[in-house]
């Protein structure tokens, strides 16, 4: 059993409220849920949609075809009518669309009139619509009532009761006026509950649970969600969150806070990261740990501000002048985003380097369901040294040479008599400016050449999913994880096929734990799937390992791959 429901309308009509509520209802009932959003770069008007797919089994991607279309305006009907399955439904309010449809899939529900009659407020039309969708599905209203109680907790009993009454009226209206809904095939899963989380919140929560205490950022879609999350948790967990004048300030602030002794992070999208590049180099030179979330959207320049792409990989990889180590993680789903953000902090602090969580609008905004994340694997090692830790140290040198390249990281002002000196110029062990070649060579070796092999050893191999000795390998990184996984599931009956997914993309993993290159070499068909026009990961693989994929499937229209669309693309090769 699985259903797909799409809510469409203009920005400002409350799509997120309806979609978000439905997603919560389904996950609390115990269904697996996958949602994705498609919205335009405008505050009001235009056409947006919020899509929810739910199922009894695990799901990880979006579909093109829908079972229920909830249309809040006429545009939605015109744009999405062809995506509705033959046995599907279109819910609409002919008073809003000013047009009546007689075809059997249409169910005309007076959202607005019911809201005014029952709730006395037209704004409750959204609750009527949500109730109606649940009515079509015959899922009962108990969970939705609880969601409404929680959502309107602060607005008081009257608002809660009004909304519940509207939900019931919408539900009952839909049940009465849906002759084809006589025998609903949906059965509620057994008593279980799942957590529902999207990519940006997962990154934010990962940072919070890694001891991040300082977050600076400039609002930029699609990274703003992380800034919102951190700000909303600041008071409860004693964080300092600063909205800054520009991204140059954002990264310099993160570096300043980290130098002063707290775990710090910043986040942005490609255009903002372009401004951060100078600061990235500063983190590299001063060996200041920072975590940077780079949430991609299509460029160049302002590009498609609210849409998705993976085309900043090589930019982030090569950004900044000079040579210093960095790590780039590209989580495939919110769960990976959560744990990889934690790992990003661990590596940043341990090696005193910048670490990236690189994701994109698609993963940032999609919600997934899971069994509750376990926290036993969360790593927290405090590498910062304070007075007691430095008791045996007579002369503290911030950049002291060592066999690992790692020097002691003391907290200024908390390190007793010791002083902490850092410099963006080349410097000696104490942190003071130098220009001699001997010290320069030693510092480059310390910062770069000694640390890099150790960092490389920490990188986990790619995930292999499907056949263990496949003839066809679909290779992806980051947010294409879910869709490739489902496509592998659907074609594995007829083919020896597997997905190879990289979530730790730089440095590329060594081949000792899993010789992924050998596996690729033994396959007949290796297809690299990316949301870029030029196949950036394929280039990286070729540059780093010499391996060349036999084919590439590239999508660069600003939209994510869907199951149908990826399968269709694969037809050319399989």
């Amino acid at each position: 059993m699985e259903y797909t429901l799409r809510v469409g309308g203009e920005a400002g009509q409350g799509l997120q409220t309806i979609g978000g509520a439905l997603a919560q209802v389904f996950s609390k009932i115990g269904f697996h849920v996958f949602t994705h959003q498609d919205y335009m770069s405008r505050v009001r008007g235009g056409h947006n949609f919020y899509q929810i797919r739910f199922s009894e089994k695990e799901i990880s991607a979006s579909r093109d075809m829908v079972d229920i279309l909830l249309a809040l305006d006429l545009d939605t009907i015109e744009i999405h009518r062809k995506s509705v399955r033959d046995d599907g439904f279109i819910l609409y309010d002919s008073e809003i669309t000013k047009k009546k449809f007689e075809e059997p899939e249409f169910i005309d529900i007076p959202f607005k009139k019911i809201a005014l009659d029952v709730g006395k407020k037209s704004v409750m039309a959204n609750t009527v619509a949500t109730g109606a969708a649940l009515g079509i599905l015959d899922l009962g209203l108990e969970t939705f009532r609880n969601v409404l109680r929680k959502a309107f907790e602060k607005k008081g009993d009257e608002v809660i009761q009004g909304n519940i009454a509207c939900a019931e009226a919408g539900y009952n209206y839909a049940r009465k006026n849906c002759p084809r809904c006589e025998a609903p095939e949906i059965r509620e899963p057994e008593n279980r509950r799942l957590m529902l989380i999207d990519g940006v919140n997962a990154i934010g929560m990962g940072a919070l649970m890694s001891g991040c205490k300082f977050y600076s950022g400039y609002p930029m879609t699609p990274s703003t969600g992380i800034l919102n999350y951190m700000a909303s948790r600041a008071e409860e967990y004693n964080l300092v969150v600063e909205q800054v004048e520009d991204e140059i300030s954002a990264i310099n602030m993160a570096i300043g806070a980290s130098f002063a002794g707290v775990r710090a992070m910043t986040g942005t999208s490609g255009g903002g990261f372009a401004l951060m590049v100078e600061g990235l180099s500063l983190a590299g030179m001063t060996e200041t740990p920072i975590v940077i979330a780079e949430m991609q959207r299509p460029g160049p320049a302002t590009g498609l501000p609210t849409r998705t792409e993976q085309a900043d990989l090589l930019f982030v990889l090569y950004a900044a002048h000079g040579e210093f180590p960095r790590v780039i993680f590209e989580p495939g789903d919110p769960k990976q985003a959560f744990y990889l953000t934690n790992r990003a902090f661990e590596l940043a602090e341990k090696y005193q380097i910048p670490v990236f969580i690189q994701s994109d609008q698609y993963l940032g905004d999609t919600e997934w369901t899971y069994e509750k994340f376990g926290l036993e694997n969360i790593i927290y090692n405090d590498y910062r040294l304070r007075e007691k830790d430095l008791e045996g140290v007579e002369v503290y040198k911030r950049f002291k040479y060592s066999s690992t390249g790692i020097s002691l990281l003391a907290v200024p002002g908390e390190a007793g008599k010791h002083l902490v000196v850092a410099d963006s110029d080349e410097h000696d062990e104490e942190g003071h400016i130098i220009e001699d070649s001997e010290t320069r060579i030693k510092m480059v070796q310390k910062r770069m050449l000694k640390k890099l092999p150790l960092i490389k050893k920490e990188i986990e191999p790619p995930l292999l999913y499907g056949d263990s000795s496949p003839k066809i390998v679909l290779v992806g990184r980051g947010s294409t994880y879910g869709v490739i996984k489902e496509v592998v599931d659907t074609i594995s009956k007829d083919h020896k096929v597997a997905m190879m997914h990289f979530s730790q993309v730089y440095p590329l993993p060594e081949r000792d734990k899993f010789d992924y290159i050998e596996l690729l070499e033994n396959a007949d068909l290796t297809i690299c799937i990316e949301n870029t026009a030029t196949g950036q990961f394929a280039k990286l693989m070729r540059a780093e390992t010499g391996f060349e994929f036999s084919h590439q499937i590239l999508r660069y229209d600003g939209r994510p791959f869907t199951i149908e669309n990826l399968k269709e693309e694969l037809h050319a090769y399989i």
């Binding site: 957590m195 649970m209 967990y237 300092v240 004048e245 602030m253 002063a260 001063t286 926290l375 410099d423």
Partner: protein, 283 residues
């Protein structure tokens, strides 16, 4: 109590006769006289001859990028507001490359001190015009003379209600020290613009040129009068006033953040136990 010896750092690599020497000794004396230990001070600087100053003294130091002094200094203060944070910048550094940060640091009002070595020229890059160079000045890059109006840092800061605005002269270290002590002691963002002749590249604004012009604001001058302060900040030419132009008692950035009132962020212990119930919000 700290002594001058405690603050003795590396040997400066400035030109002989540079105004920076006086700024260096003045800042050290001011800190000693205020009874502040080197371990309680964080100096953050940018790039230029001014940027090297923290290396020539002894304290916690972050010598960052050109123009980016204030974001680093502000965040360091937020992370550990028990430190005395002194931002050291040059005129090109602070008013040119870092102009945006300057505006927003004034708005934020962190309790830090900004010392600007204002020599009206780019010294380290060998003599180009800076934002404070006089109109008409000829350089290699400005063969027709500087076309732009010079930036007036004091008037700009006062117009934005900066918490503390003062100007000193490197040729009068005694008075400069007074101003510096007042700036460091002031609660809020304090700007001290220091006229610091560049003996190598600025042939106009020399020590002599300033000595003939600078004077101290009158004893009865009221630094809390913003309009008057603005008026006085526009005086420039034959007579150039020095002193504390403007002061106010605005709430500082740190005071406005509830999460660091009990203790500095850097002293707050973290344990996964304290945050683990966060997961329930998504369940």
């Amino acid at each position: 109590m700290p002594t001058s010896e405690d603050y003795k750092g590396q040997v400066p690599a400035w030109c002989p006769g540079c105004g920076n020497f006086n700024i260096l000794s003045t800042v050290e004396e001011a800190l000693v006289e205020l009874g502040i230990e080197p371990r309680e001070v964080l100096m953050v600087s940018g790039i230029g001859q001014s940027g090297k100053l923290p290396h020539y003294t002894k304290c916690h130091t972050f010598n960052g990028l050109h123009g980016r002094t204030l974001p680093v200094a502000t965040a360091a203060k937020l992370a550990n507001h028990s430190l005395h944070v002194i931002a050291v910048a040059g005129d090109g550094d602070c008013y040119g490359e870092g102009g945006n940060h300057f505006l927003h640091a004034i708005r934020r009002n962190p309790n830090i001190t900004l010392l600007v070595h204002d020599n009206q020229i780019y010294g380290l890059t060998k003599g180009q015009a800076s934002p404070t160079t006089a109109q008409g000045t000829h350089t290699k890059i400005q063969p027709y003379g500087v076309l732009e109006e010079p930036l007036n840092p004091l008037a700009l800061a006062i117009s934005q209600d900066c918490s503390f605005v003062a100007r000193g002269f490197a040729g009068d270290p005694g008075y400069l020290k007074e101003l510096m002590k007042a700036a460091i002691s002031h609660k809020g963002f304090s700007l001290l613009d220091i006229l610091q002749p560049c003996v190598t590249f600025n042939k106009i604004n020399t020590f002599r040129w300033y000595r003939d012009r600078v004077y101290k604001l009158e004893e009865e001058y009221d630094p809390y009068n913003r309009l008057k302060a603005f008026e006085r900040s526009l005086e420039w030419g034959d007579k150039i006033p020095n002193g504390i132009f403007y002061k106010n008692e605005r709430e500082t950035l740190e005071e406005g953040i509830p999460t660091i009132q009990e203790k500095p962020l850097v002293r707050q212990k973290f344990s996964i136990e304290d945050v683990k119930h966060e997961i329930d919000k998504f369940y």
